[in-house]
Amino acid sequence: MKDPIIQLTGLTKSYGKVTAVDKLDLQIYPGEIFGLLGPNGAGKTTSILMMLGLTEPTAGTAYVCGHNATRNPIAVKRKVGYLPDNVGFYPEMTALENLCFIAELNGLTKSYAQACAKDMLHVVGLEQEMHKKTGAFSRGMKQRLGLAEVLIKTPEVAILDEPTLGIDPKGVDEFLELIKRLSKEHNLTVLLSSHHLHQVQRVCDRVGIFVGGKLLVEGSIEHLAHNLQQQEGVTTAITLEDPLGDTARFEEALKALPGFRKLTVTGYSIELQTDADVTAAAVRLLVNSGANVVAVSRNDYKLDDIYNTYFENSITTNTAHEKSNGFFKRYQ
C-alpha cells in the first residue's frame, strides 16, 4: 500500500474536562475521497483544524504531506487547500479580487494570479459572476468560490468542512460531482466532513464515522453495511396467498436453515431472521412444501440503518453509545 498522505496518530484535543477529539488514529491515502461523518459537535472541525496546525493538539501528532502540522504548519498550508464550514469573503471585493488575493498570498505573481483565478472561476462555473461583489453572493456561490480558492493553490490535499451545508439539493449534486471530477482529474486527495451521510456516500471512497470525539468505524459504505448485517442479521419477510394453516410442516425446515436466529409467523406473513442472506433458500423451501408465495422482501442494511446505528443511538443515550462501542470492538 502507498504511504498515507494524512496520518493522524493518537490525536487528542481537550478543552478543560471536555475531550473534543479522543485519540484519533486515521490514515488517508493519496487520491482517495474520504468522508468524515458525524453529527454536529462530534469534533470534526477540531480534528481538521489540528491537521492544518490552526489548533494545537493536547496529545498525538498529525502528519500531512509528510510535515508535522503542529511544528511546521506553513509547509502543510502550502500543500493543503481548506474550505471552512462557514466560508466568508471580503464583501466589498469582487469574486475575482478575492480569488486573486488568495492566489497572491500563495506566492503567485499578480498577472499569473489573475489568469489563474479566471480559469478557476470557469471551472467552478462562476464566470458570469466574476466582477460581482461577494457581498451579494448566495451561499451556494460562496461555496463554489471557496472551492475555486482551494484549487487555485494547486493543492495535494483538499479539506472541505461541511461543503454541502446550506445548499439546495440540486446544488449539492452539482457540487459533489464537481469535487469528484476534480479529484479524478488532478489525483487530488479530498477529506470531506459532513453530517449528511446520504449526500456524501455517492462521492466518498471511504468514510469514517466520528461520534463524540471518537472514530467508531471506518471503511467503504458497503463494508459498513456488511458489518452491520453481520451484527443485526438479515430479515426476510415472506407473504403467502392463503392464511397459514399448518405451519409446522415448514417451520422445522426453516429453523434448520444456516445461521437461523428467529422466526415469527403471523397470519399471512412469515418473518425470518438469519445471520446471512438465505432468502432464496427459504422461498424454495416454502414453494417445495406447497405454499403460495406472493411477496418477498429482504431487509438490506442501507444508509439509514448505518446512520441510525452510529449517529443517533450513540448520541441520544449513553447505553446506546456503549452498545455501538461494543459493536465496534467486536468488528474492528
Partner: protein
Amino acid sequence: MKNPTVSSKDINSHPAAAMQVLVSKEIAAHIRSWRFNILILLIVLTFGASLYVSSMGLKDAVSNMRDPDQSFLYLKLLTTTDNSIPPFHVFLNFLAPLLGIALGFDAINAEYNNGTLTRLMAQPIYRDNLLFAKFLAPLIVVGTLFIALVLLMIGGGLLGTGVRIEPQELLRIFGFTLISVLYVAFWLSLAILLSIRFRQPATSALTAIGIWLFFTVFFPILVNLAIRPFLPNPNYISEQEYLAYNELILNLLRLSPSQLYTDATTTLLMPSVRSLGPIAMEQMVGAIPSPLSFRESFLMVWPQVSGLTAAMMICFAWSYYIFMRREIRS
C-alpha cells in the same frame, strides 16, 4: 478544464511577498471604504479651516516684534489662531484618536465575523503577518495623508507669501507630522487590541471611544480630585513646595497620551517654548527670549516621544500575545 501549469517565474517565493500582498490589500480596503473617506474629509476640512484662520492673522503674527517666534512664518501658519477655532495641532489632539480608533476597531473581529479569518489563516502565511499588516496599512495611509497635507501647506505658503522656508522649520514640521503619526499609531494599536479582545466590533469601538473620552475629559478632572485633598493651602507653603506640587500634577497628567501629544507638538511648533513645567523667575533671569534650536526642542520632547512609543508598543505586544494564542475557528 484548462489546467494551469505553474512555471517558476510565476511563483514569487520571497518571504516578504505575502506581507506585501496583505498590506496592499488592507490599504486598498481602507481607501475604498466610506469610513476612511469621511475621516479624510473631516481632517482636510479642519486643516483647511485652521489654515484659513491662521493665514488671516498671519500678518499680525509675523510683525509682532515681541514674539520671539515671529520669523517662523510656516510654524506660525500652523499655530496662529484668532481664538475662533483652535489651531490644527490642537484639533489633531481630538481627531487623531478618532482616526486611530476608526481604522482599527474592527481589524480582527470583522474578519472573524465574516468568516475570512479561518480562510486567511489556512494560507501559507504567518499569523503575525496579518497583525502587522493590520497595523502598518492604516499608518501608511495616515502618514501619506499627513505628509500630503503639510506639503500642501508649505507649497501654498511658498506661493502665497514668497517667504523662504527655514531648514529648521521643515524639520519641526516633519517632526510634528511624525509625532502625529505616532499618536495615531498608539490609538490604532489600542483599537486593534480591543478588536482582538472583543468579538463584536460595536463593543470594541465603544470601549475604545470610552478610553479616549476618559483620557480627554475625565482624566484631568480625576487627577484634580485626587490631588486636592492632599494639597495644602498655597499661601502657607514655600515656593519650592508649591512648584513640587505643580510638577506632581503635571506628571500625573502626563500619564494621559493626549497630554504627551500636546506637550510634544507645542514644543516642536513653538520654538520659544523652553520648559514644559513651571519655571521660577530666577531661572528666567538673564535668558534671552529667543527660539530654541530644533535639536534642543527635540531633546525636550524626547521623554514624551518615548512615552508615546512605549504605550504603543505595550498595546501592540499585548495584542500580539493574545492573538497568537487565540483559537481560530468560527
